[in-house]
Every structure is written in structure tokens, then in C-alpha cells.
Subunit: 472 residues, 4 copies
């Protein structure tokens, strides 16, 4: 499924490097491999012998750094970067990260992936105390807390501040003398440490960015950990002992790139296994298995392998970005949909098709794809979803904060089947998902956050509590 | 394989519609599905009650028509459009099509996919006679011939002119009263006719564009045919009887979209069969089959199915366009390569991999991919190419006009294997390719042009003859 | 009067240099000083050791060559450039000059200032003979004629062609071996030859461009002359002996820059004298003389000097270009006018003002300025126009081709006075204008074209004859 | 003199309107007339029924609001705007105003013209207390002070804060319920209040902006005053009684538009009188008076009138913005200078010229202009400067903060004459300047700040004290 047609949006990717003479270029490459995590804007802050400079703007990374001179100007041996998720609304460059703060006594770059559950309370309280915020983003809060802290060192001020913010967060900071990564106490968001051949250290939201930058994986950042990297190497500290693994299961299902590993598990392999278990749980007689490109191809090949039914390319995604203006007629709007995804008549005509997708959010996209297949002549379309029904919102960094838009929160599976005009519909079971990913942490669901599926939130919801309860 | 990293360039795609109130929007959708055939520039000419207007520019279609107003300005019930192939050099907007010619006695829009083999002779001869050309493109030649012709009607002037141009060509013309498609006597390039629900006729380089515009396939344009579409319907005429099918085999192997049909054969299906026959011809023991995304995925799945070896996602292509500036160091250049294509360590580490690709041009890309796989831990990499070795240039519309750059023209298969550092290397046989595509025309190679592989050119080479012979 | 608010548009400026190592930069500087002659687009063609390259685009010169790299790419020791006049309509880059023609036997750059009176006939005749035009501009015609000519040398083909085109024209051509300037038989448009310190020759529409490029004036190009410049120096030839001076009087009145000399007469000095004679012809009692900036400041200071009435800055022109969107209300539209020109309350309040302007076209601008002055408190506004009433269109290069829009063609002076709400109104007499400029050629009106004022066109009107006669 | 060639930079212009249905459009018009006060960037914040929205960017106003949609989006009946001065350096959009601050309890827009002398101390002290700044601008400081204040109302918090900032400042604030203007205790910077026909109130840096928006002048904002405008009208309050007029004399000499009035004095009239007194103080025999366009034209016409020597247009300024790339040779650099300003050979050749300019900063520009005149044939060039020698820096809003660059701080008049290669050189006396402007306040120098000329700073210099003293 492509990010254009649905509303499940990741909240960003971060990348940083310490100890490389072309740090901002390495960061550019790393960010490019994380572009799927955010398309609204991008930025890089570099450390040139203690002086911090940055550039950020709205748009894809290749647009933000359209001219090489912009990148060349970001000299220095350390840099952090950020890609920000796409929103429908009118984005402002003020929200694009990394933020670069300059003080009389130093400068700090700050990038953030995640969502705080007590952001509103903290912001109001800080503003009452005279603080001025310059963006809508909850990322600034951490810097205000750090500047308010009376602890003696920057690291201690940071740790004190990390104990005050709640929710899901992966922070990456660049100071004049160090690069620092920090993860929330549940490890909701992925964050990995690696090392390049020349000894430089790399921090990235996904391991695919380590591969791209030629770095070797060292370890994942753990829950409640702070990793400080400077010219003397890296050291791991904890800002809290009150931790418990609850890794976002949607990273495995949909967000992360298939070539990334999270908690030691390869994402493609996990998805393929989701497809295999789905085939075992919900078999159906058919002529072919068709995956919805691109995110469902792994699951579809797993389904095909387990079922023995041949895998075919019955849907083709246009690799070029489509600009879809508001179209005056329904006919043109339908053609607009086909610009992005086409059914292959020569493959599906007259056939019984198993269409494998990774998830269903509102159901509108699934309905369109089923219809594309049927218009192209498919005799039957059996929809198999390689994850359980999405019934609950997320407050830790995924852009679904209301149950209203979730079709599975309001309809039975049979109702959904009817809505999307499929001949049959099945979802992977919760246990199937847990087994397919195969984590082994001593925590509920083996260390996964399954809240989207069962509402079992691993933390209090703070500022979201009341509206969430009202929505049930 | 992606167009960014190799030099096999298609020379354009054309699309036109007659009889639709939003003709230019339909053309925009159609062209978008042909964007893979050309990324250098795009344009549309529309017919607004006999008045022709156009817009064209350098860049992807979505960049050329960045503002909806540009499209909205192209009113009318008929339109033709064009996407032009990407070149390394400094393109000029003067070469972007469709060309729009305005005369005291009418206007004509002209778009062209192909390459003329007698362009240089015709141009010199026309210039000696006072003609002035305004582009480097050989497309203008047809219009000069038409204007010089003394035949009584436009169609007759066109037919006379078509007999003078040689090589591979698919023309699409828009006049004040008609849309006209014409194909060379060998049908080198694909061109199809379809009809929308409202009765509008559509002409497109590939049938995928018919699907996108919601049109039903009527027929392929045949060799030596002219199809005239106007308000009274369509009629098929021939400008020559001296025809013989020699459809470009590279369209099946690499250029066309998998969801297109050419001469009634689905491209994905043909590719999958190439993979199957390749598996039969050149089996090898291994742990997995990996396709080079995106164009080799069909062949790879065919190889996997036929061999019984599991198909895995061992290579991931970044779906976002990479801007690769000139990088100061070798290390950064290598990271630049990985921006586009990554090997999946979690999948290939410690495994014996069969890497399936569609073709080898210079060998540099294959070498890089083999090395990516090995760096990611692959124990063995067996390269299987789903087409025969490319040994000869093309003069009918593909951008390879010298043998020097073709690695297979100058090296044995064993030498190539060594060059690309593969553990083994095999190509599909010529007969395997012909069988996989399965045409049935009463012509050499069942109606395919196999000249890249065996130098058997279906036509005289005219202006290219001497340099070609010298290159042997 | 500023070019933004009226419709008297010059048809371009040309500049060329032969023999300077940075020819395109010298041309850039020269064109910049001719920018007042055309704002729609600009271009430069340079000759790099016999190879011609060019760049052109819509917009001001500084926009067209926004990046220095565009200029740096135009290497070579010779170059020609062009600025094109602003039109209200949607301009196309196809019309921006210099045109660069490439033939199998050479290349030619061509720039043109003027208007042909037999363009339509020539174009139709050429098209009937197979010629294809690529712009709406009449400039292309000359190149078609040259290519059709059977004369043995380029210069002879050019001369033959110059005898076929009629009207007002100043051509500048760049070939692989020479730069050539040519002027119409009436010398309607100005064109001057100069020489730089390093020996390089310069051709420019106005002498101000010679000054800017540090060149010394040698001579004006005369009527019916061709000047050929190459590495051996320059030589002057004639293509016709049937010549008679009829220099455009509007160049002196309005178009040319005050620091230019035309036919040896400084434009500022001529304008100041127009003001002086106007003061003598039409005195009036008042407190101050106010010129309409910028083109009327010379005439106003002449009026002040001759009348002894102090010259004051009662009107201020905003030096920044104003973007005036379509304004929703009348009030906002009026503010839009004031954005460009303001009356100075502190100067004019309670005073009797003599407002000096160079000309009146439609009368709407004059009316607005009178009202601005009255709203700012002026007690009386006496309008004095430093040229005779504009009653006839121009067919030699000025963008007024219908009498309908000319207020003086349809109203008496008293009617105009009432229309523009002035307290009194006078125009300079025709003889006053002739005396102020003070040419001394043996030709009607001492060598000026006075057709705007009296309809005495120095040449047949050819294609315009019938519509002109119908308009009388 | 044009802003391109010298380093006297005004620090901005402000404009605001309360009570007009198209407030942002009125602000756009008003700002356009203040564009001469700042070209680096521009912005507008509008109040749409209590909701504040803004747009700002680098570039001229017409570039910042290139698309009408940007302006149309700023709905509401009140708006404030700002133009920011041009710097050589790499500007950041973060410094472009108005700043728009959003708090849990409201929003505030803030624009500022001036310079604080205790900015550094205040900022450090605020940062020590936890404040985070987001720009380099000293404008943010006021907002931090307001938010820290414990006063009960916004106006009282503002007044308390205004007592803490020192130096020259004109603030314009927009809240959800009011527009507020405030001026420093010396009235260094101009600021005026006016009223439109529909009753809307307008605040502007110069009265020319009142004229453009069709508003009638009500009063200047006085030293130490706060003017609060809301739906009930306007009221004037004072935040301090410790005030004394010291209006920036450079506003009269150079910065302000000639059609503006400051403290009731028309700027053109004051400049003309400077020229008259200069003629009386420093007469010289010559053939003509030439003003340096555009800012010296008033003074030059005054000089001409008083001396009886004719005023001529001996220098012409190109009205189009020149883009001067780094030029490879000295010759090209000189041509670059001539792009902006040309001497008129036809006027000055063989003549004795009195060149009147408003001021001399470094002397390099004067030298160039003298040389332009001599190269164009002027026999003698007598330079007359319509203000006293600039010897001291400014800390109240003009961008000269070191004496090193001021030629008159380090050289005698005779030395400067030699440097600029003039035949004679005189400056207006200090008393001449005071008399020409003719203020009548009960304060030193009749209410003018003359510190540039005599170092008599009307306030302590705070953070600048030590570096200033060291520079003497």
C-alpha cells in the first residue's frame, strides 16, 4: 500500500553520524533510505568544529537539498537529520526538524520521532512560566525542560527532562561536543546504533539506513536508554529503570522497510511469515495470489508459498509520483486512482484471485482495489489481510487518533467484506501476528504493542485519556 | 532494473484521445502510465473546436503540469501527448513533443516514438531545398515532407511522406479535424487503439494506458497502417503493402510495463515464462531466487516457480528518486549506489542466491548488485539473465548505437562472469526468448526483432550503414 | 510615464559584440541598459570558435540569467542579444530572440527590432512553398528568405532578402564567421556602432549601451545599410539606394533612454528643449512645474527653466516593481494605482500645478494622475504634453495598430481636457517637436517620422493598408 | 544614491491596519510604499476574527506574495506587516517579521523597526532564566519580557517591558483584540497614525504609506507613547515620561521617501532646502548642477535654484535591478558599475559639473561617480554633499556600527577630495542641516539626532559602550 492513498502516517525518521569528515552527506544518504517514514519535510544540522549549522525545508529530501551547495555548506564531522511525515494540511517550515537552538552558552540540534501523551499539559505549564514556543510540534518541549533544569551537566539535565515526557519517543540530539540518542521506556519506536569502517558512529530509525551508509549494526537502543557518542566513543546510560518492551507492531506490518531488522527480526521475513500463517489460518481455493504493492508483496509471497497457489503480478503500482488535481467528474476521479495502481487484465481476467494486503484502515482503498481487479475481469476476489483488524487509535507516534475512521472499530468482518465487495475476507489472528514476528521479551505479547488491535495500551494516556474514553 | 543506472533508454511514449470533453485530462492520465517510457520531458496538444493549443516542458509529467491551470487551459475534445526519454545531456525544450505547427491554412500537432534510419539524408536534402528545422529531433522531418508534398489531401500527403521515412516509428498527429496514428512497416514499436465508454477513441504506445483511461482494447495498429479518427469514427488504411512484423523484443524483456499486452501477449506473463525457461535451461542449486527490482521481478518469480527454489526479497529498491550529486570520495559514491538499491542482509546472509536480471548492457550495474549481495553476506551469487547476450546496437528507437559499450559484444560469457564477480552466469537462449514470448507471425523469429542478439536487422540501415559496418 | 500603465510598447532592443573574450558578459551588460525597450523576454547567442550556443527565456534579463552558470556557458568572442517588449497576453518562449538556426552547413543567430508591413504576405507565400515557421514573430521570415535565395554568398543572400522585407527593421545576425547589422531604408529604428578599448566592435539599439560597455561611438547605422564585422574589421555596404530618413520621433519623445544619442542628438537635451518650446507655446500661471516620472522629467525641467516657475517633485514613482493582482473592490484598485505613483501632499497641497507629461495615449493614465494631484490638495492642474496629439497608429515597430484606443484620434483637445479633468491642456506643436529635436536631413520633417501625429506614413502600408484605410 | 551600492541600511518598515475588510491587501499596498526601507524579506500577519495567521519569506514584497492566493489566505479585518533591510550575508527566514507567537492563552504578532542597545544583556539574562530564542533578531526580546511580566493586563505587561528595552524602536503589535504601536523615548524612528475613509486606523513607518492606502494623517506617534487601537477607536498612553525628541536626521537626508512628512516636515522640501543652503554656503562656478539619482535629486534641484546654474540630467540610473555576478576581470567589474548608473556624455561632455549627493559613507561610490562623469568628458567635477561629514556610528537602527568604514572619521575633507578625485568638495554645515529641516522642539539640535556627525548620542550606549569607546 502506498502512503498516498491512506491515512496511516508514521511520525518521522531520524539519522545521525559522529566522526565522519562528510557527515552531512552520509546523513543525506541515510535519510534517503528513511524517506518512507516521512515526506512532508526534511532537514540536517551539522557540527563544524563546535559550530552548528542547519538547513531544513518542506518537501522530499531531494527537493530540500535540490542544490548540492546546500549540502556542501553543512560542513563538519557530525550531523543529525530528520524526515517528517506527510500531512494533508498546510505544513509550515517551522515544524520541520531538526530544530536548531542557539544560546549564549552553546547550541543544540534536536530531532524527534514519536508522540508525547502529556505534551499539552507540559506546554501549558511551561508557557505559564514564561516559555515561548515557535512550532506546533511537541518536540520543542524537551528543549524547554532541559533549559529549565537545574542539574549540573547537560546529560543530567537531559535525563531529568526525559523522565518528564511521556509516550513514544526516539530523540536524537547534537550538541557542540556530542551526539545523543534517547528512547522511551517502552521502546515503541525503533532506533539502532552502528559503526562505519572509519570508526564513525551512526544512529538511525531503521537498520536499512545503517546498510546504506555502510555501517555495521552494533545494537538497538533499548527502552529507557540514553546513548552518548563523542570523540571518546559511545556509552550507554539509563534515565529510568521503569521500562518494559512494547515495540510498535505496525512497524513490522507496514511502516518499516523490508530490509530493516527490528529487535533482531528482519521485516521482510516477518511479513512473509505473516502471509504463511494467514494461509494456514484462512485458506481458500483460487488460481493465484496477488499482493498489493509495495508493502504487501512479502506477505503475499508467503501466502503463495504456504498455499502452493502461484504468486502473480496482478496489480502494478506506478513508480512515478502522481499529482492528482481535483477532478471535475467521477469518471476522471476513477482514472486518477488508476494512475497509481492498475490491475493487470492479462493476468487476472477470468481468474479467482487471492488479494493479500497488510491492513485495512478505512476500507475505501481496499474497496477500490477489489473493484479494479473485478473490472479487469477477476472472477472472484478473496481478500486476506496479514494483520488483525485495526480497532483502536495510537498515541505513540502513528497518525490515527480517533476510532471513527477505523472501519473495523465499527463493523463486523462480514460487514467489511460486503463494504469492500470482496468474495471473502479474513484477517490474521493476534496470536498469528505475535508468532510471525517472534519476539521473545519478558513482557505482554512477547514485547509487542498490540493496542491498535485490542486497546491494551502499555502506558497511561495522560492528555488523551478523556477523549479516548469518550470515543469507546 | 531502474532507468537511473543504465543506458538502455526507450525513445518515448505517445497517447491521444478523440471525442472526450476533458481530452487533455484523459491524456494526462494516459501519459502518466507511460512515464516509464520517457522522463526527460512531456507535453500535450489539445484541439479546442479546431483551434490547437499546447504546453510542453522539460521534466516529469507531474512537473510539467505542476499547476492544474496549465492543464485546464488545454480545453477541447481531442488531445495528443508525449513523454520523451531521459538523456544525460543538457536537454532543450525545443525537442520536447508534441510539436505544434501553425500554418496560414491550419495547424498540426505531431508526436513520435522511434528512430529514423535515413533522418540525416532527408534533413540535409530538405535544408538544401530551403527548409528550416527548429529542433535536433528527427520528428520534424515528417512535417516538412508533408508540406512539400503535392498530393491533394492531408492524408495522401501524409501517406506519401510515410513512404519516404525509414526505420522504426509510431506517429500520432492531431489536426483541426482528425487524430491520426501511423506505424512503420515492421511494427517495431507498439501502438494500440481503444475505446472509452462514452465512445471516445484512444491511441496509446501501451495498453496499460488504455486500462488507466478506462478504455477497452480494440486492436493493435499494424505494420504500414494509418488509422484516421474523426467525428465519424475510425478507419484503417495502409500506406504501403511492403510490411513484415519485427516487433522489438526489448519491449517484452525490459521496456513495457508488465500490465501491458503487446500483440496480444501480456508482458508480465511473457517475462515469467522467460524466467521459467531460463530455470529449465540453466538450473543451479541454491537457497533462494532474488529478482532485481523492478523490471526483473516477473522473470525471477517464474524462475522460482519452475525451479521450486523459494523466491525472496533479497534486494530492495528505494521508491523515492535519488539525487546523486558528484560525490567527493569513492566511499560516498558507493553509498550513493546503495541509495537506490539495497541488499537485504537479514534475507541473504549466509545463503546461496540466484540473482535474476532481465539483461546486461555494460556489466557495471550487474557487478555492483553482485557485490551488494556479497557485502550483505551472500555465500554464492549465481546470475541468471532472462534474455540472450546483447551484442548489437539498435537503430529503431533504443538509445544504443555503438557496440563499444556492450559488454557481450566484446567478451565471452565466462569473461563477463569474472567481470561481474558472479559465481556462475547464464543467459536465456534466443529460442527460449522466442518461445517465452510466443508470437506466431509468418516472419523470421515468429515476428520479433532479434537484432540486438544476432545482428539480423530487418531493414537496410541507410545513414547508419557505414559506421555500423566499421564497428564490426 | 512608466511602461506598466500604458500600452505604448517598443518592439525590442538588440546588442552585439565581436572580438571580446567575454562576449556574452559584455552583451549581458549592454542588454541590461536596453531593458527599458523590452521586458517580456531576453536571450543571448554566443559564438564559441565557430560554434553557436544560446539561452533565452521569458522574463527580465536578470531573471533569464538568474544563475551565473547560464551566462558562463555561453563562451566565445562574439555574441548577440535581444530584449523583447512586454505584452499583456500569454507570451511563449518560442518568440523570444535571438533565434538560433542550425543547418547542416552552418548556424545563424538572428535578432530583430521593428515590424514588417508585408510579413503576412511573405509568410503565406513562403508557407505555400513548404516553409515551416516556429514562432508568431515576423523575424523568422528573413531567415526563410535567405535560405531560399540562390545568391552565391551569405551577404548577397542577406541583401537580396532585405530588399524583400518592408517596414521598420534593425536586424542583428551572428554567423560562424561574422556579425552583421542591417537597417531599414528609412532608418526608423536607431542602431549604432562603437568600439571597445580592446578593439572589439559593438552594435546596439541605443548609444547608452555603448557607454555601459565602455565602447566609443563610431557611427549610426544608416538607412539601407549593412555593416559586416569580422576578424578583419568592419565594412559598410548598402543593399538599396532607395532610402530616406524617417527616424521614429517617439524614440526621442518617450522610448529611448535620456543618456542615449540618436542621429547625434542627445535624448535628454531634445526632451528638455521640447519642454522649453512647450513653455513658450503654452504658458500658464502657476506655482510649480511637476514632471510625470520618469520619462517626463527632462521636459518638465525644460518647461520650468523656460518659464521661471520652480520645478518641484510633486509626483513620486515607486522604484520597486508592483505586482497588482485583480483587486476585489474599486477602493483597492485605486490603492493599486498609488502603489506605482504617488502625489506629494507636502509639496502640491494648495498649489497651482503644471503637470508635464510626454504624451497621451488613451487618456486614462493622465486622468488618474490629475486626480492623484487633486486628491493631494492641488488647487489647479494644468496639463502640458511635450509632443503633439497622437492620432494615428504605427506599423514600424510600436505596438499601436488601431486608432480606436487613441483618445486624440477621436476627441478634440477640449474634450480630452474635460475627460482627464485638467484645468487646462496643451500639446506641443508638430513644428515645435521638429525644432526641439533639430535633425537636419534632407527629407520631410527634417528626417523624422511624424506619422503618429499627421498620418503621413513614409512608406506604403502593404498588408496593413486596407484595415488602416477602413479605420479612418 | 541607490541601496545597491552602499552600506547605509535602514532597519525596516512597519505598516498595520485595523478595521478594514481587506486588511492584508491594504497592508500589502502600504508595505510596497515602504519597500525602500527593507528588501531582504517581508511578511504580513492578519487577524481573522481573533485568529492570527501569517506569511513571511525572504525577498521583495512582490516575490514573497508572488501568488495572490498567499494574500487571499490572510483574511481578516486587521493586519500588520513588515519589510526587513537587505544584508550582504545569508539571511534566514527565521529573522523575517512580523513574528507570530502562539500561546495556550492567545496569539501575538510583532514587528519592529529599530535597534536595541541593551539587547545582548537582556537576551543573556533571559536565557539564563530558561528562555529559548528562535532568531538572531533583537525583536523577540520584547515578547519574552511581556511573557515574564506579572502585570495584570497585556497593555501593562507591554508598558513594563518597554521600560526595559533601550535604544531606538518602533514596535507594532497585533493581538486577538487590538493593534498597538509603541515608540522609543527619543522618537528616533518615525511612526504615524492615520485613518481611512471607512474609519479604519492605519499605522505606518512613513506617511507615504498613509497616502498610498488613502488614509488621512492624524498624528505622529510621540516619544514614549503607546497607541492602542481596537474596535472602540484609538487611545494614546505613555509608558514613560522621561522623553526627549532626537529624530534621526538621516531619515530626512537619505532614508525616507521624498513624499513622506516627518514631524510635519516634507522630506523633499527639507532636502531641497539642504541643497539651497549648501549652494549658499559653498558656491562654485560651473555649467550645470547634476544630482546623483534618486535620493539626491531634491537637494540638487535646490542647489540649482539657489545658484541659478541650470539643473541637468547628467547621471541616469537604470530602473531595472541589476544582478551583478562576480566578474572575472576589472574591465567587466567596471561595466557592472555602469549597469546601475551612467553618466550622460551628451550632457556633461566638456562641461564643469556640480555633482550633488546626499552623503558620503566610504567614499568609494563617490569616487566611482566622479570618474564616470570624467570618463564621459566632464571638464571639472565639483562635489557638494547635502549633509555634514559622517564621522560616528549609529546604534539606533542604522547599519553602521564601526567608525573604520567611515571615510570622514579618518580623513580630512581635502584628503577625501583627493580620494574621490573631485576638483572641489564641500559638505553642508551641521547648522545648515538643522535649519534646512527646521524642527522646533525644545531639545538639543531642535529635536534631531546629530550623533553621526558629532558623536553626541542622546542615550547611554549600554552593550555598545565599551567597543565604541575603544574605536575612538
Amino acid at each position: 500500500m502506498s502512503y498516498e492513498v491512506r491515512s496511516l502516517n508514521e511520525e518521522c525518521g531520524v539519522f545521525g553520524v559522529w566522526g565522519h569528515p562528510d557527515a552531512s552527506r552520509v546523513t543525506y544518504f541515510g535519510l534517503h533510505s528513511l524517506q518512507h517514514r516521512g515526506q512532508e519535510g526534511a532537514g540536517i544540522v551539522a557540527n563544524d568544529q563546535g559550530k552548528l549549522n542547519g538547513h531544513r525545508d518542506l518537501g522530499l529530501l531531494s527537493e530540500v537539498f535540490k542544490e548540492d551547495s546546500l549540502l556542501a555548506a553543512l560542513k563538519g564531522q557530525a550531523a543529525i537529520g530528520h524526515v517528517r511525515y506527510a500531512t494533508a494540511g498546510n505544513g509550515s517550515v517551522d515544524n520541520i526538524q531538526p530544530f536548531l537552538f542557539k544560546f549564549y552558552d552553546g547550541a543544540v540540534g534536536l530531532a524527534h520521532n514519536g508522540n508525547l501523551t502529556n505534551a499539552k499539559s507540559l506546554r501549558t505549564s511551561l508557557e505559564k512560566d514564561g516559555a515561548i514556543f515557535h512550532s506546533n510540534s511537541d518536540t520543542e518541549i524537551l528543549m524547554h525542560l532541559i533549559r529549565k533544569s537545574k542539574q549540573p551537566t547537560f546529560i543530567e539535565r537531559l535525563k531529568e527532562s526525559l523522565c518528564q515526557v511521556k509516550g513514544g519517543f526516539a530523540y536524537l540530539l547534537l550538541t557542540e561536543t556530542a551526539m545523543i540518542a534517547a528512547l522511551d521506556p517502552n521502546a515503541f519506536r525503533p532506533l539502532a546504533l552502528g559503526q562505519m569502517k572509519n570508526g564513525a558512529y551512526v544512529i538511525a530509525s531503521e537498520t536499512c539506513a545503517l546498510e546504506v551508509s555502510g555501517a555495521t549494526f552494533i545494537r538497538d537502543v533499548g527502552p529507557g536508554e540514553v546513548i552518548i557518542i563523542d570523540d571518546s566513543g559511545y556509552r550507554v546510560e539509563k534515565y529510568t529503570e521503569d521500562t518494559q518492551y512494547a515495540i510498535c507492531s505496525m512497524e513490522f506490518i507496514y511502516f518499516a522497510r523490508p530490509d530493516s531488522n527490528i529487535a533482531g527480526v528482519n521485516v521482510h521475513t516477518a511479513r512473509k511469515k505473516m502471509g504463511k500463517l494467514l494461509a494456514e489460518e484462512s485458506p481458500v481455493e483460487a488460481d493465484m495470489v496477488v499482493g498489493v504493492p509495495n508493502s504487501s508483496l512479502s506477505a503475499a509471497s508467503g501466502y503463495a508459498e504456504a498455499s502452493g497457489i502461484p504468486y502473480e503480478m496482478g496489480l502494478v503500482k506506478n513508480q512515478y509520483i502522481a499529482r492528482t488535481f481535483i477532478q471535475p467528474t467521477q469518471e476522471l476521479r476513477e482514472q486518477g486512482v488508476r494512475m497509481k495502481l492498475s490491475a493487470v487484465r492479462g493476468v487476472v481476467e477470468g481468474k479467482r484471485v487471492i488479494m493479500v494486503d497488510d491492513s485495512i484502515v478505512r476500507g475505501t482503498t481496499s474497496k477500490r482495489i477489489v473493484q479494479l481487479l473485478k473490472e479487469a475481469g477477476a472472477k472472484e476476489v478473496h481478500v486476506r489481510i496479514a494483520s488483525p483488524p485495526l480497532k483502536y487509535p495510537c498515541f505513540y507516534g502513528i497518525d490515527i487518533q480517533t476510532r471513527k475512521e477505523l472501519v473495523a472499530a465499527n463493523h463486523s468482518i462480514e460487514e467489511i467484506r460486503e463494504l469492500i465487495t470482496a468474495d471473502s475476507l479474513s484477517f490474521l489472528s493476534e496470536q498469528g501476528l505475535i508468532d510471525a514476528i517472534g519476539l521473545n521479551y519478558d513482557a505482554p505479547y512477547s514485547g509487542l504493542c498490540m493496542a491498535y488491535f485490542n486497546g491494551d495500551f502499555p502506558t497511561p494516556l495522560y492528555d488523551y485519556e478523556s477523549t479516548y474514553l469518550a470515543s469507546l
